[in-house]
């Protein structure tokens, strides 16, 4: 089953705690309950959003940092995902 996000939305998946540690990015304080390092699963087409033309700059496979509490949680094929707007993505980890 495939999930196709609309407009400027991005489907992301939490990266496991082990991988997070390996990559060298650990979140401070209260951030422990909900990791902010995520992997991009699917990316919307962008286009006109609230009257502004949005170009998508992330792609599936990217490791991204998102603001905590951003987005809506869903479960796709038994895996917990979050759908955020691209503007909720703070940075890409390379």
């Amino acid at each position: 089953m495939k999930i196709r996000p609309l407009a400027d939305r991005v489907v992301i998946k939490n990266v496991e705690a082990e991988e997070t540690t390996k990559s060298g990015i650990i979140l401070t304080g209260a951030a422990k309950e909900k990791p902010q390092v995520c992997e991009v699963i699917a990316v919307g087409p962008g286009g006109m959003v609230d009257g502004h033309d949005v170009t998508m700059t992330v792609k599936p496979g990217d490791k991204v940092l998102i603001a905590k509490y951003a987005g809506t949680e869903v479960k796709v094929d038994g895996e917990e995902c979050v759908i955020v707007r691209q503007s909720d993505i703070l940075a890409v980890c390379e």
Copy 2:
């Protein structure tokens, strides 16, 4: 009886719990009271909404994910429906 949504509005219907399970999308935690996977029943014409030109990208029959609490509940021909704006639709499930 037919319901014709205005502007960027979309009429959606909750997909039964069984079908939700089959499709592999199950909503987490508090989402159980109000399923987020819905089927599109009717789609507005789009056009100028708050001064922005909106193109409709969903069509009747699409299975969509919506944010909980989005939209207004109505009952059409005895069936519970919800009217949302297209921007409340997070993703299409294929």
Copy 3:
């Protein structure tokens, strides 16, 4: 006596409960106190509203669904009416 709404405003009148049942649209739960199915009585000219050009897409006689709590109640020739903006109208029932 005639009431002529300004800009994008629409004067609507509650449809009687009997007619509502007949048409097959019944509102759920808390909606019972204030029916959402209304008949359009008068339609403003549209035009520039908050800097956006608004085209009126409803006409007198249309049966429409409005969000509860939308609009301002007035009594015209002894009959209770509500004045809403066209953007408060969710859908037309055909």
Copy 4:
């Protein structure tokens, strides 16, 4: 003494209760404390307001319906008036 409203503002005067009844428009419920049917006394020139070009569509002598609590009360030559924006005027009674 004359009062000249600026921009999209309109000076209105409450219509006496008797006249209100005669015209067939009576306001419901809590509206009794402050009648909503008013007569237009003076109209601003319109023009650029918040970056939007506003055309004035009401004229002195018009009977108008305004939302309760809209505007600022002033007393001109001993008579209580209210200054509202034209966008606070819901409809014209003819």
Copy 5:
């Protein structure tokens, strides 16, 4: 000492109570603590304000009505003044 307001700002001075009575404009109710009839002392140049081009339509010497609580109080050469935006001025008294 001179005060030169920026952008769409206007420096105004309360008109004495006697003069207010003479001109025939008396403010109702709670308005007594802070008269709304003021004289314009200085006017900003207008121009681009929040991305909109503002043309100043009041001039020094004008008697104006302002909404209560609008603006910032300052004392210039021992005299209490208020600095408001032109959009806070409701009307000019002639």
Copy 6:
């Protein structure tokens, strides 16, 4: 050490109480805790701010009036300064 404000920001310094009295501008009431008459220390380049082109109209050395509570306090070379947006400046004292 030099501080260079970004965009439409302006660095200002409180003018001493004595000077304030001399210039003839004294602030009323609660304004005593934080004088509003300030001297401009440094001015940002202006340019695009929130999508609007901002032209800077104040210059270092100007005595300006600012709204209380506007801006962020910093200490530069041991001297207390405040960084405000130019739109927080009400007027220039000449």
Copy 7:
């Protein structure tokens, strides 16, 4: 490991207290808990943000002043960083 901020975002790192003192900028009062003088680590590409074209005017290595409470804290390679929007940067210290 590298962190690449998106859009108008900037990754900054707190400058040590000693260095802060040396540079002559000390923050007043409650600012002590979270220093506002930061060093820029990485800068996003700018471009269209909320429909406005943003040009980045800071560069890695710049010492900047940010408003307290701005941004999101992350830890990159064991070092605490903050991701802010460029518009949260008040000034550059030279």
